[in-house]
């Protein structure tokens, strides 16, 4: 027995291990799955380009072919467990690709249609006296900036102070209730926030009121919970040692919060506030019922109707009037400006959190 292990040449078992079955048995050949994927993709492309089918059935057919072939092949060679694993891998990856489709389609559509009206006039004119072509979004851009700015002015202090209360002071039932209801507030439908602001201002100014500030109040209802949540998360990240070091030097609690805790968390808070602004700047429904629409410049949020980009885009689309084509172009143009603003805000938020993140050494 010992001689047979020291002289491997004489032992046939080692060359054909496991009783004559090679180690790679029971597996698909290397690269079989990616190969099949490429093959079905090519087949789908051929159907699309040569046979002239529509692209969607081609893609679906190619995906289905890949799934069926790989599953049956794997089931025959590797057994049902591995086959199910491959099936799930294909489905999960397919689901991700499927989710990318609307995103790509939305971005492509908005950019291609919005570029029709991306000229200087579009950004410098309002809609006063415009019936056909021409006209612009100057008043709507200013309205969006003013209303969103006011909303930020209301919600950032309230949101940050609430977060400070929750992290630094809050104990007991009140803090629990605030945390819970802030979460619940995140889910208030935007139209309900709009109705709330409308109802509030009706009580003060009488029925039919339309004001920029009412829109700002409505947006604040949507924005405050986001600000609270993100600020709270950031304040919790500030190490307790920093606070204790400050207390040890005899610094009062409020100065500790203002001079030590807040500066440490500032980058994260700025990111959160930027994302919150990005969330509300594209809101339409609450502004539709509170701020309304006007053709001319109105930059006074306490006096009468104010146009915002999203409401402008909506009305240009749903009530185009006689020169529908020009109106649709303006609607898409405004949509493109809006999406650019939102994307830029998101980008800024990422950059802030990257650049000013606390250095960990």
């Amino acid at each position: 027995m010992s001689t047979s292990t020291t002289t491997p040449e004489q032992d046939p078992e080692l060359h054909t291990p496991l009783g004559g079955v090679p180690l790679t048995a029971g597996q698909l050949p290397r690269g079989a799955a990616p190969g099949m994927l490429v093959a079905s993709a090519v087949a789908g492309l051929l159907l699309w380009l040569l046979a002239g089918w529509a692209i969607v059935p081609c893609a679906l057919l190619a995906a289905a072919a890949y799934v069926v072939i790989v599953y049956t092949w794997s089931r025959a060679v590797e057994g049902p467990r591995k086959a199910t694993d491959r099936l799930v891998t294909a489905i999960v990856s397919g689901a991700f690709l499927l989710a990318l489709l609307p995103l790509i389609s939305v971005l492509f559509t908005v950019v291609s249609k919005g570029l029709e009206r991306f000229d200087a006039e579009f950004f410098t004119y309002s809609m006063v006296g415009v019936t056909g072509e021409g006209g612009g979004i100057y008043h709507a851009m200013m309205g969006t900036l003013i209303i969103t700015g006011l909303a930020a002015l209301i919600s950032v202090p309230i949101g940050m102070l609430t977060a400070i209360y929750l992290v630094e002071y809050g104990r007991g039932k009140l803090a629990k209730a605030i945390t819970f209801f802030v979460d619940v507030m995140t889910g208030i439908p935007s139209i309900v926030a709009g109705l709330f602001a409308y109802a509030l201002f009706v009580m003060i100014f009488g029925p039919g009121v339309r004001m920029g500030i009412a829109g700002a109040v409505a947006l604040s209802v949507l924005m405050i919970p986001t600000v609270v949540r993100s600020t709270e998360e950031m304040l919790k990240l500030v190490p307790n040692e920093l606070r204790e070091a400050s207390y040890a030097l005899g610094v009062p609690r409020w100065r500790t919060i203002v001079k030590v805790v807040l500066p440490t968390a500032l980058a994260g808070i700025a990111t959160g506030v930027t994302l919150a602004i990005a969330r509300v700047i594209g809101e339409t429904a609450p502004l539709l019922v509170t701020a309304g629409l006007t053709d001319g410049d109105n930059f006074d949020p306490f006096d009468g109707r104010m146009t915002t980009l999203s409401v402008y885009s909506y009305y240009e689309y749903v009530s185009p009037g006689l020169f529908a084509e020009a109106s649709f172009d303006r609607a898409w143009g405004a949509a493109l400006v809006l999406i650019i603003i939102v994307m830029v805000l998101n980008l800024i938020a990422r950059i802030i959190s990257k650049l000013f993140a606390p250095k960990t050494r």
């Binding site: 989710a99 605030i178 889910g187 439908p189 109705l195």
Partner: protein, 315 residues
Amino acid sequence: MASTTEAPPRKDRAPQRPGDRIFAGISTGSGVLILLALAGVAVFLVTEAWPSLTAPAEDIPGGEGLALYIWPLLFGTLISAVLALVIAVPLAVAIALFITHYAPRSIAKALGYVIDLLAAVPSIIFGLWGINVLAPVTVDPTTWLSEHLGWIPFFAGPASSTGRTMLVAIIVLAVMVLPIITAVVREAFTQTPKLHEEAALAIGSTRWEMIRMAALPFARSSIIGASMLGLGRALGETMAVAMVLSASGGVSFNLISSENPPTIAANIALQFPESSGIAINTLIASGLVLFAITLVVNMIARAVINRRKDFSGAN
């Protein structure tokens, strides 16, 4: 026991400086303000809705009373939101799995951002997209569905020629709630204890079996909570539905015809600018119903998610 010398009172606490008191007061105040605002939403809505609750039935738009005015709206709201979830939840779980367990580690984070971008697109743009791109695409398939699967109530037809159907509204809603659900579920999957996963792999599981045994049970309550969160969002979504849906019908399960029940939120957005008097009060009453439903849904969602947070090993 009379003391002979006046001992100075012992200081148990640090001195309360005025600055401290003011600052604590302000921050507590803003917390209370938020609670008041939420209560205010309910109070103001009830006050403004009140005239329509007490008005005679024939004054309500439609002339049949408040309940019959709101019922089709409520039905449309529920059916669109629930069916949107039926599409979105499995997709969201699959996407979250892809990002956390399947995608290469180096690009997983970037893929997460891409899905988050979907959440950043304003709803008005989804409305424009739905009506211009998605609706025309669905015309041919829905015609086929109504011809061949017409015996299913959902596809009874006749298929709409514009594509502005409940089906398109449902798909748009599904796309809009997808990133919200994905974000919560993804968070839960990343918190799955590594040891559980490695143990599952060590006993010879395939990746799917590992996910089924370790990741999915761990994330189950998160998936439920996230679905409720998505439901709340889908119930309240306004502009996309208002633009996409051609709302002219009553209660109907037919998803592909041109006569659909409107949703509460979309109906408000469509009717509000041209309404006055009792019609406004009626719309606010329907908004109150929507507020109550979303409040309940969101409270359940948060309760489910928070319960899990207490037991997870992550904190």
